[in-house]
């Protein structure tokens, strides 16, 4: 009896959490198609006007382009560096390894505002603030831990004798990386690329500090909000959300997260 109550309680609670998280997004989605200038009930007619207005605004288009221009290279570089860090952790033992791992995992634990401020003060000192490169650098720092964590998870499943077998079959360390370790991690590498791209595409606080006049989409959204309450916010928000969620879902699908994290029998 009691376990039944707990189970239903748990389900209700989960449902409640999802509602709280999703409600603003759903509201934003609904109002993005509503012709009323103000987000209020009852709803008026259905319209795509806000989308048209948004995506004909050259500032938005420019920001969108810039967002992708930053997010994709960020995804690529974070994945490469994340793989290097995860592989170092897997293969080698060295002095200060724990410290190294801690340092690698640090960025997401730092409040975004502090991170943004720190990045701004450092990058401006080396004359790199206020341009696309500064966003790129900051986003790599923020995304890298996600890539490393994902790839590390996959490497942990790898039978250590797999790489030894490659050496044993005359593959030197570079070849064994190229022909054994990377193919083994292929799915998680792709997933890491998608996730880090999504992180960069979404990131606001740090980009706001370091971007200067080179706005990314989330920064543009804030600028919209500061000017006036425009229903275009809803349209742009819906697009940003859809893009990010698409990347994450894709990443989950290729990496098999959610199916099972246990090594398959085939890995034996």
């Amino acid at each position: 009896m009691i376990w039944k109550i707990t189970r239903w309680g748990g389900r209700l609670y989960t449902l409640f959490v999802f509602l709280v998280i999703l409600a603003p997004l759903v509201a934003s989605l609904i109002f993005s198609f509503n012709s009323d200038r103000f987000p209020s009930l009852p709803l008026k007619e259905f319209t795509t006007e806000w989308y048209l207005l948004t995506f004909t605004d050259p500032l938005v288009l420019e920001a969108l382009q810039r967002s992708f221009l930053v997010a994709i290279p960020v995804g690529l570089l974070s994945t490469v560096l994340g793989f290097a860090a995860a592989y170092s952790d897997y293969r080698y033992s060295f002095r200060g390894k724990n410290l190294f791992n801690l340092l690698m995992m640090l960025p997401p634990t730092i409040p975004a505002v502090i991170m943004g401020l720190a990045m701004l003060s450092y990058l401006s000192r080396i004359n790199l603030a206020g341009n696309v490169y500064s966003i790129f650098i900051s986003h790599v720092v923020i995304s890298l831990p996600f890539a490393m964590a994902l790839i590390r998870l996959r490497l942990a499943q790898m039978d250590p004798s797999l790489e030894e077998a490659a050496w044993n079959l005359q593959a030197n360390s570079a070849q064994s990386l190229r022909y054994v370790v990377v193919p083994y991690c292929a799915q998680s590498l792709f997933a890491a690329f998608l996730i880090t791209t999504a992180v960069s595409f979404d990131e606001f606080a740090v980009a706001w500090f370091v971007s200067g006049l080179e706005e990314t989409v989330p920064v543009r959204v804030l600028v919209f909000l500061q000017g006036q309450v425009s229903p275009r916010i809803n349209a742009i928000g819906t697009v940003v959300f859809a893009t990010s969620i698409l990347l994450v879902v894709l990443a989950m699908a290729v990496s098999g997260v959610g199916k099972s994290i246990r090594p398959k029998a085939t890995d034996q």
């Binding site: 030894e164 490659a166 050496w167 044993n168 079959l169 070849q175 064994s176 034996q268």
Partner: protein
Amino acid sequence: MENILIEVDRVTKRFGDYTAVTQTSLSIERGEFLAIMGSSGCGKTTLLRMLAGLEEPSTGEIRLDGVLQNGLPAWERELPLVWQSLALFPFLSVLDNVAFGLKMRGVPKAQRHAQTWVWLKKLELEEFAHRNVAQLSGGQRQRVALARALVTEPKVLLLDEPLSALDAHLSVRMQALLRSLQRELGITFIYVTHSQSEAFSMADRVVVMSRGKVEQVGAPKDIYRHPANRFVAEFIGNVNIFKGRIEGLSNGVATLQTSLGRMTASIGDVSARLGAESDFFVNADQILLNTADYPGNSIKAKLLSYKFVGNMVTLYLEREGGEELKVTLPEPAYDSAGLKIGDLICASWPTVSAHLFPESH
């Protein structure tokens, strides 16, 4: 020496404070099937990994064909290994798994494939060539691992307990395959196992290891008949060990005083001293039941239990002092003896079947 392929020369391997292999020397001949046997942690796998270059000896030398191997990275040695876990590449097809070694050597694609197909055929894997290794049965995966290691036509194949994951039936079939493959290729197989039956059924020579040291090297029959010491005898398992004090030495026969009375044992090439405490052993299949032929070496004992293994029966007898005596005999002999549990039996053996151990140090 012409015929020596691999020389392990006073090799020691330490991991921190732990010494896995201690001052081990071993000469491995061209074309022989050598089994290295011992319980887990005896250093047999470490020794094999040092041969493959996956571990570096702390001291001592390893030579292949007279060429020093110390310091060579694994990929510059030609000592392919078959792993206990097989370590097949899960993201490659059977064909690509087998071709891997050739690809790493830069063999051109056409030649690579031709050579790979030869081995796929030899190990009856052609129909699986384009399958993923995950889709294969245990025995098929085993053959892929063998083909992958042999495709580069090495002089030596190292095997690390490759059959331990298979069921008994399949294991016996794979043993026959390995033995015939080794004869056909004429290359050296070095086979590490904890299983006496695998080692004894396949190997030309067996190395028994314990706690990082070689206890005995010899043909399976020699090890079985003449275990060099108490450890090997107990590991082989099919012997009865007695304790005694030497009271007389003459004509290659020692007379010993034991808790069960006076007994005799052949000395062999062991150096024995009068008055020394000494162990001796009798193989379980050398003991005769209820015959009055060997009055010097006979024991009265009660039949406790028995066990059938193949067509042999092992009887467990309880001696007067409560100690156990093991006797094996062929099933027909057991049937005709008409024994029942609880019967008092006279077990006896000739002096030539009892052997002194060298004094333990």
